[in-house]
């Protein structure tokens, strides 16, 4: 499996995402923001960071990068797309995922190891996990409060589009319904605020994040 890891000016977790994919047994290729040829790519990661300085609004400028047009086509054909942190924000701004991310309730940047509970969504990224399972991965962001208008939120819940929730008492940012990650209706596009790519090496803490990166290869096989 070959992952394409997007790189915008201001991205900063792209090498970590490559490292995670490689630890999960896949190959990777960095995709610069103006590339539109995704041939040979089996999955896309929109990494964390501060694309375009988070100016205007987080993720708002990256949606216009040429590579994002190609990613939208890739997703429409059912290709797996994972947005982490800033990548989640970009996917929401692009309309590939429902909802929006707002400034944390406490207004500060938060950075800590925390627990996520796997929700009911169906997605290749969740194929190694079961609903109710708890994984430990780092939370780190300043604009991670998940928000959707009431009707949209109801629809997301009714469609089982919630992928992860913060474990009880650990919601770090005021996200609605403790939502940490969601999928699109088809399940092939996932976004989450916490960072599975930083939980892949026993030396640096938990390895629970590997499951997400192994998931799509498992489905493909």
């Amino acid at each position: 499996m070959i992952w394409g890891v997007l790189q915008f000016p201001g991205s900063c977790d792209e090498r970590d995402a490559q490292n995670a994919c490689e630890r999960a047994g896949a190959e990777t290729r960095l995709i610069w923001q103006d590339e539109t040829d995704l041939s040979g790519i089996d999955g896309i990661i929109v990494p964390g960071g501060f694309s375009y300085g988070d100016y205007l609004r987080v993720g708002a400028i990256a949606q216009f990068a040429p590579a994002m047009g190609a990613v939208a086509e890739f997703a429409a054909k059912g290709g797996p797309v994972l947005g982490i942190c800033n990548g989640f924000q970009v996917l929401c701004e692009s309309g590939l995922l429902p909802g929006a991310l707002l400034t944390n309730e406490g207004t500060r940047f938060i950075s800590r190891q925390g627990d996520l509970v796997v929700a009911e969504a169906e997605s290749p990224f969740l194929s190694e996990m079961s609903p109710g399972e708890v994984i430990s991965i780092p939370f780190k962001h300043q604009t991670g409060r998940y928000f959707a208008p009431p009707e949209m939120l109801e629809r997301i819940e009714a469609n089982n589009q919630v992928a992860f929730r913060y474990a009880e008492g650990q919601n770090p940012n005021g996200s609605l319904n403790d939502i940490a990650g969601v999928v699109n209706e088809a399940g092939n596009v996932m976004g989450l605020m916490p960072h599975p790519e930083h939980a892949v090496d026993p030396l640096t803490d938990s390895t629970d994040g590997l499951k997400l990166f192994r998931g799509p290869a498992r489905v493909e096989a």
Binding site: P9, G10, D13, R15, G49, G53, G106, F109, S111, T204
Partner: protein, 734 residues
């Protein structure tokens, strides 16, 4: 004659400029002289002393004089590092001051061709009961987080002390550590007549004009609102692009040399490049990309706009350089060329508007001898904060909650400490940060330390202690020190007391570094940290980088139920300069002698024990003494202890209180199985068994005195900082 004084030059210095320059300098030239002859750029009160420090060693790749120091860590890789201050800007505008402090030190490491992989910060503020202090702490921590987090560089450690003398003059020292291929590292010296000078990064604006001379080289008044325009504004997004661009430029071998723009902007960067290369340089200000169209030549030359780099490029490679800058969406322009004239010429559309001999500008500033005078008495205030008659238990809880000792998790939780996938020990999780370096099949450890209060008690001994503490911190994770960087934060060196503090401190630093075979590979001096209420505590901040062969054995584990607890090392506790003496308002001059050789033996014993896996729980005894350290270990593990310090009283012939709360260097608290501790014996380092880890109480007995508190009480005290800083804010959901 008054214009030069406004710019910070003395009459004698101006006379010397006239003599060297051969005529009255015009406005452009005078602005340039005033900045490069400022304390901040010329180190005129410290350079002679700094010459005494050892700077050479088998692992040194780059030493003082380059943008940062660097040491070899094998397999063709080097670690670059440096610490620098941004004190006065942070006192004026804490968020931007701290943010640009981080941005500036990152650029120093980037300029060497390295990729930054870690940030540490050493911060000093006044006491927390002051609203101003809380405002500064909040802004500084947010500013550091903003810049480091946005750049994707983890903040992995640091320290924060709260002491009254920093109330109006906080200290913000930032240290950056980077990694580079040794043979791809680049120097700052300009070379090759006819080579082009390329400026890239942010546009040049009017921000920070005169920052080096106005903010960094003069005493500080209480009302400095008017200086706010001299504080620079940071843009980490721009720096992130500049970083990636530099990495690609160097990988493509497009650069001859590289330099960041910091204090004194283009004047300093271009001047120092020419001086180091013994060349001349022409800069045409009309070619500099500007934020505001109508800037004067002198403004362009001294602007301290952030996120800019200056490169020397062979003419045939200029196109390639500009193309990569375009890819990274950052401005770039050819603004001049290297000459063989030895002159630094400023042109505007080809017309010469300034012409100075490079060496007059960069190396011509007179260096001053200090006139030290040891003060007869303790010159700093004393405040009583501890209830008279408090018993050992109450003292312990009070020390655990004292802001300098209490957990700094409130701050660390605002820093990304994991980006980069190298962080083995996060901030606050061990005595030193540990980063994995798979490139060279090992790990590095980083520590930063400097207790100003103890240095105030004895500048020489306090500085020796700070370096020993750093080395001890590295030993606790199994690391051997490779090199030292330092930031010397002092008051006005023209005053005898401060001159004495500074010279004694540098003597101590040289002494301890020579004794430990440690090269000082770089550093920074910040003087005039002084307000109408007096100077700050003399605060040498020591940064140390070490290596360890295997990140899988680097201790840092909590003790386990039933573990034996021991004290190792030549520890002679004393209340002089301690946290307890501070709380009692009894601080005075003097510290007990620090014995470097026995301390070194203990440091090596601990390092070897951690490396071979014999030791998995160890920390050095520092602020608050043994009772405090034992309490911290207990609350981390969630398991209490039952310990006697009678052997310490006998061995060190000290009082009960000295044993419980006394401080000093050389002591380590270890925990493990009896067998593992016995294995450390017989190696020439004193080891005393003190007791066991067990239960939910912390029981520490010393003669007739004893501490007897619940682990939960200790934890509540130790973790009390967040709500004391966030008094005006609801804070985040915990």
């Amino acid at each position: 004659m008054s214009k030069h004084r406004e710019l910070g030059l003395t009459d004698d210095e101006y006379e010397l400029i006239l003599e060297k320059h051969g005529r009255e300098p015009n406005d452009v030239e005078l602005a340039m002289f005033s900045l490069l002859w400022s304390e901040h750029c010329a180190y005129k009160h410290s350079k002679k002393l700094l010459g005494k420090l050892p700077t050479e060693g088998p692992r040194v790749v780059m030493g003082p004089g380059e943008n940062a120091g660097a040491v070899d860590i094998g397999n063709g890789w080097s670690i670059a590092f440096k610490v620098e201050s941004h004190n006065h800007p942070s006192a004026v505008e804490p968020f931007q001051g701290a943010a640009t402090g981080v941005g500036g030190i990152l650029r120093d490491v980037i300029a060497l061709g390295a990729r930054p992989i870690a940030i540490l910060d050493s911060l000093r503020f006044g006491e927390l009961d002051s609203e101003r202090t809380r405002y500064l702490v909040d802004g500084v921590v947010r500013g550091i987080g903003h810049y480091g987090n946005s750049m994707g560089i983890p903040t992995v450690g640091g320290e924060i002390y709260f002491e009254p003398p920093y109330e109006l003059n906080c200290l913000v020292n930032a240290m950056c550590v980077g990694i580079a291929r040794t043979d791809e590292m680049v120097r700052a010296a300009a070379q090759g007549t006819g080579n082009m000078v390329v400026l890239f990064g942010s546009k040049t604006g009017r921000d920070g004009i005169g920052g080096a001379s106005v903010l960094a080289s003069a005493e500080f008044g209480e009302d400095d609102e008017g200086k706010r325009p001299t504080v620079q504004i940071g843009d980490p997004f721009e720096e992130s692009k500049v970083l990636e661009c530099c990495q690609e430029l160097l990988a493509a071998e497009l650069l001859v040399s590289l330099q960041d723009l910091g204090a004194a902007g283009l004047t300093s960067s271009a001047g120092e490049m020419a001086s180091a290369g013994d060349t001349g340089i022409d800069i045409d200000v009309a070619s500099v990309p500007l934020r505001e169209a109508d800037m004067e030549p002198f403004e362009i030359m001294v602007s301290e706009s952030q996120e800019r780099m200056l490169a020397v490029v062979e003419p045939g490679k200029v196109e390639g350089v500009l193309a990569l800058c375009t890819k990274w969406q950052t401005d770039s322009a050819v603004i001049g060329e290297v000459t063989d004239t030895g002159a630094f010429r400023i042109l505007k559309d080809g017309e010469v508007v300034g012409d100075i001999k490079v060496h007059d500008l960069v190396d011509g500033c007179p260096l001053y001898d200090l006139e030290p005078g040891e003060p007869a008495e303790w010159i700093y205030p004393n405040q009583v904060t501890l209830r008279e008659g408090a018993d050992a238990s109450e003292i312990t809880l009070s020390l655990l909650g004292s802001p300098s000792i209490a957990s700094k998790r409130w701050a660390y939780d605002q820093y990304d400490s994991v980006v980069g996938s190298r962080t083995v020990h996060r901030a606050g999780a061990a005595d030193a940060a540990v980063l994995n370096i798979p490139e060279s099949n090992r790990a590095i450890a980083i520590a930063i330390d400097g207790n100003g209060r103890r240095v105030a008690c004895s500048p020489r001994l306090g500085t020796i202690e700070a370096a020993l503490e750093c080395a001890a911190n590295l030993a606790c994770v199994g690391a051997e020190p490779l090199g030292v960087t330092n930031c010397l934060n002092f008051g006005n060196p023209e005053k005898p007391t401060v001159a004495w503090q500074l010279s004694q401190s540098i003597d101590g630093l040289g002494e301890v570094c020579r004794a430990l075979d440690l090269p000082v590979v770089g550093g920074n001096v910040s003087l005039y940290n002084e307000t109408p209420t007096g100077p700050i505590y003399p605060t040498p901040v020591i940064g140390m980088v070490g290596e360890l062969p295997n990140p899988e054995t680097c201790a840092g584990e909590p003790w386990r139920d039933g573990d034996w607890i021991a004290l190792a090392g030549p520890f002679n506790p004393s209340l002089a300069g301690s946290e307890l003496e501070k709380a009692r308002g009894q601080l005075g001059k003097g510290l007990p002698d620090a014995e470097i050789e026995p301390a070194r033996a203990a440091i090596e014993l601990v390092r070897d024990g951690v490396r071979d896996g014999t030791i998995r729980t160890v920390t050095d005894v520092s602020d608050g003494g043994i009772a405090t350290v034992l309490s911290e270990l207990a609350l981390t593990a969630g398991i209490g202890c039952d310990v006697t310090l009678d052997p310490v009283i006998v061995q060190s012939e000290c009082s009960e209180e000295d044993a419980l709360f006394g401080e000093g260097s050389g002591g380590f608290i270890l925990a493990g199985t009896a067998a593992s501790i016995e294995m450390l014996g017989g190696k020439g380092v004193q080891i005393e068994m003190l007791g066991r880890a067990e239960g939910n109480e912390i029981k520490v007995q010393a003669g007739e005195s004893s501490v007897d508190i619940l682990v939960a009480e200790a934890k509540a005290s130790f973790e009390s900082l967040a709500h004391r800083i966030d008094v005006d804010q609801p804070g985040i959901t915990q």
